[in-house]
């Protein structure tokens, strides 16, 4: 399958306002947890969050709110590519707008509500995909398919979500928030950490260097089980992973690492780990999740995972998962410091969303595909 290679990446997260600073912080195992009270947000309740520093959160007359600001920053990091198609995803990008709706819309906001989401039109029309927390990875998949089909030679994929009152209160009321952040796969994990930020990458088709990281395989499925909970059997997630491996023409033992969805919830992490153990059996595997460090980026989470997988493959370093000192949640889960993997190794990234969408994407150097 003639999938594209990754030309460039960008990010805006609580750990850094670009990808290099975010990546260095991830490798070092740093986490940034603040509270909504620190930013005078969502009062009177105080929620632990992982927030982007100095993000302008005002909506001033036009349709631009903090999520639009994240998209602006991501697109400014992308190289000028006039012929590139843009692919995008967000969960609650518009909820900033809707809070204004309750106080009366401006005409720009009304226009935005009717069909021109956020501030992407400055770069041209974007192809939007909505699949909840798997949306960003779905958008990347569609971009990869379009590149492979010859519809475009360059694709920019961006996904972002800002702190949203809807998501913060919703997850809190569902009892899904960790009391002091998220510790994915830890035995005493107690929930997720709301995060915000965005991820972006540029796909290209054509001549590539031997160091180039490519999409190797893609798989997807849907639980069709419950509005929020994953299917406890894990059948659907396993099917997405198997489809991805088959698409790449690889066996589980050819994959060295997984950047898991790993939100830090009791149920979700248990199901995901059980599926990985089922698929990989005795084959060695290193697993990580970055949600303990940057929080859950909602619609952008899957695309950030893809960036982590690409960089891990390129550099041979897999970032650790946040855990307590001395704790070993599972032998496969990387904790403490980063794990060394073979540069160019096949690395799997996963994303799952409300309603049961699962997406699996395998990346690495071409000889693995």
């Amino acid at each position: 399958m003639n999938y594209p290679h990754i030309v460039d990446v960008g990010a805006v997260t609580s750990l850094g306002l670009d990808w290099p600073s975010t990546w260095q912080a991830l490798l070092a195992g740093r986490a940034r947890i603040t509270t909504t009270a620190d930013m005078h947000l969502f009062e009177p309740t105080v929620f632990p969050v992982s927030a982007v520093e100095n993000l302008d959160r005002e909506i001033r007359g036009s349709a631009n709110g903090p999520c639009a600001g994240l998209f602006d920053r991501l697109l400014s990091q992308a190289p000028a590519t006039p012929d590139a198609r843009i692919y995008a995803s967000t969960n609650h990008g518009e909820s900033d707008l809707l809070r204004s709706f309750l106080r009366g819309l401006t005409s720009e906001q009304a226009d935005a509500l009717l069909g021109e989401p956020l501030a992407l039109t400055a770069r041209g029309r974007a192809s939007f995909t909505y699949a909840a927390c798997a949306g960003g990875l779905h958008a990347a998949v569609h971009a990869a398919f379009d590149c492979a089909d010859g519809i475009t030679e360059k694709a920019i994929v961006v996904s972002a979500d800002a702190l949203s009152l809807i998501e913060t209160v919703g997850f809190a009321r569902a009892g899904a928030l960790g009391k002091q952040g998220a510790r994915p796969f830890a035995a005493d994990r107690d929930g997720l950490l709301i995060g915000e930020g965005g991820a972006g990458l540029v796909f290209g088709v054509g001549p590539y260097s031997d160091d180039g990281i490519h999409i190797l395989g893609i798989g997807m499925s849907c639980d069709a089980f419950h509005p929020t909970d994953p299917d406890p059997s894990g059948e659907s997630l396993a099917r997405a992973i198997t489809m991805c491996l088959e698409d790449a023409g690889l066996q589980p033992e050819h994959v060295e690492a997984v950047v898991a969805h790993g939100t830090g919830t009791k149920k979700g992490d248990a199901i995901e780990l059980a599926v990985l153990q089922r698929v990989w059996g005795r084959a060695p595997l290193r697993v990580t999740s970055v949600k303990g460090q940057v929080g859950h980026l909602m619609g952008a989470a899957g695309l950030l995972n893809l960036l982590v997988a690409c960089e891990a493959s390129r550099s041979g370093k897999l970032p650790p998962t946040v855990s307590r000192t001395g704790e070993q949640p599972d032998p496969a889960v990387v904790t403490g410091c980063y794990a060394s993997i073979t540069p160019g190794a096949a690395v799997l990234c996963l994303a799952s969303g409300f309603g049961g969408n699962n997406v699996a994407v395998l990346v690495g150097r071409r000889q693995h595909g």
Partner: protein, 293 residues
């Protein structure tokens, strides 16, 4: 390439002004939709999700298919805005501690396709695509792509919409008083070997769909139904169709495709190809169909 068969489906029954999944429902009919759609807590999801589920059920009615090989793609757009508004109002009026967490999933644009997938058991994928009048062409494009790549055997492509508080509020702010139709149109797309029809060599088939800057996609095809979105939000089209009098927003492409397919079915006695397209600014959404009577 294997033929991708098309079968039209409608979420509404024919009654009064309702024809072929399109029209203006009464309040009683709307309530009935919630009751029949099969989504738990359907009212929290909103009418567009109910329409999607009903249309998906109609599309798959009688189809003996492996549910793991069925996907659903619906038109994106502002359809979850009312659920999100209700959630925000609940926060304002009752406080954070008393918001019902069961209403969170409905605030997502993907709520409609995933709720529909749960109703019909579609387990290949379920997502929404696009955000404006060209969205349904993007839905068809993704469906065609995923079928060609053998990710699924069947895809239910949904074009559904209804008026909502958020939508009407936005239109009022802009000083636009156009009618917003209720629409529940779907196309079941099936890879040839999985087609539900008894005669898989006949009927409509989808040969391709696109979204881009090409003004005349598939230039060799002479039979073309080309729509154009005006500044007033209404769509001009060579056939008589309701979008010249009112709006269906991101379901518009489904209405245009249905109108064209109806015309072909009525007027063509031999096989033909035809393009259905809509132009918005410098972007064209289009689909290439074939017909074998």
């Amino acid at each position: 390439m294997n033929r991708i068969h098309c079968k039209l489906a409608h979420g509404f029954q024919q009654s009064g002004e309702i024809q072929n999944g399109f029209g203006k429902l009464s309040d009683e009919e709307r309530c009935e939709m919630f009751a029949r759609c099969g989504i738990r807590h359907a009212a929290a999801y909103g009418l567009q999700a109910a329409f999607c589920a009903l249309t998906a059920k109609a599309a798959l009615d009688g189809a003996a298919a492996d549910r793991a090989r069925i996907g659903i793609i619906s038109n994106g757009g502002p359809w979850s805005a009312d659920a999100a508004l209700a959630f925000l109002r609940s926060i304002d009026e009752r406080g954070h501690q008393f918001v019902n967490p069961l209403t969170l999933p409905a605030t997502l644009v993907s709520a409609a396709p995933t709720a529909s997938a749960a109703v019909v058991g579609a387990r290949a994928f379920a997502f929404a695509a696009g955000f404006d009048e060209l969205a349904f062409f993007e839905v068809l494009m993704r469906a065609h792509q995923l079928l060609r790549r053998d990710v699924a055997n069947h895809v239910v492509a949904l074009g559904c919409c209804t008026g909502s508080e958020a939508l009407h509020g936005a239109l009022e702010t802009l000083g636009q008083s156009t009618c917003v139709f209720d629409c529940a149109i779907g196309i079941l797309l099936s890879a040839q070997q999985s087609a539900p029809d008894a005669s898989p060599a006949t009927g409509f088939a989808l040969s391709g769909a696109m979204m881009g800057v090409e003004r005349h996609p598939w230039p060799a095809v002479t039979r073309r139904y080309k729509g154009e979105l005006g500044e007033d939000g209404l769509i001009s089209f060579p056939l008589e169709q309701p979008l010249s009098r009112g709006r269906a927003f991101s379901a518009s492409g489904a209405v245009l495709c249905q109108a064209a397919m109806d015309d072909i079915g009525r007027t063509q006695t031999g096989p033909c190809e035809f393009v259905v397209s809509c132009v918005k600014g410098d972007t064209t959404g289009a689909a290439l169909f074939t017909w074998r009577p």
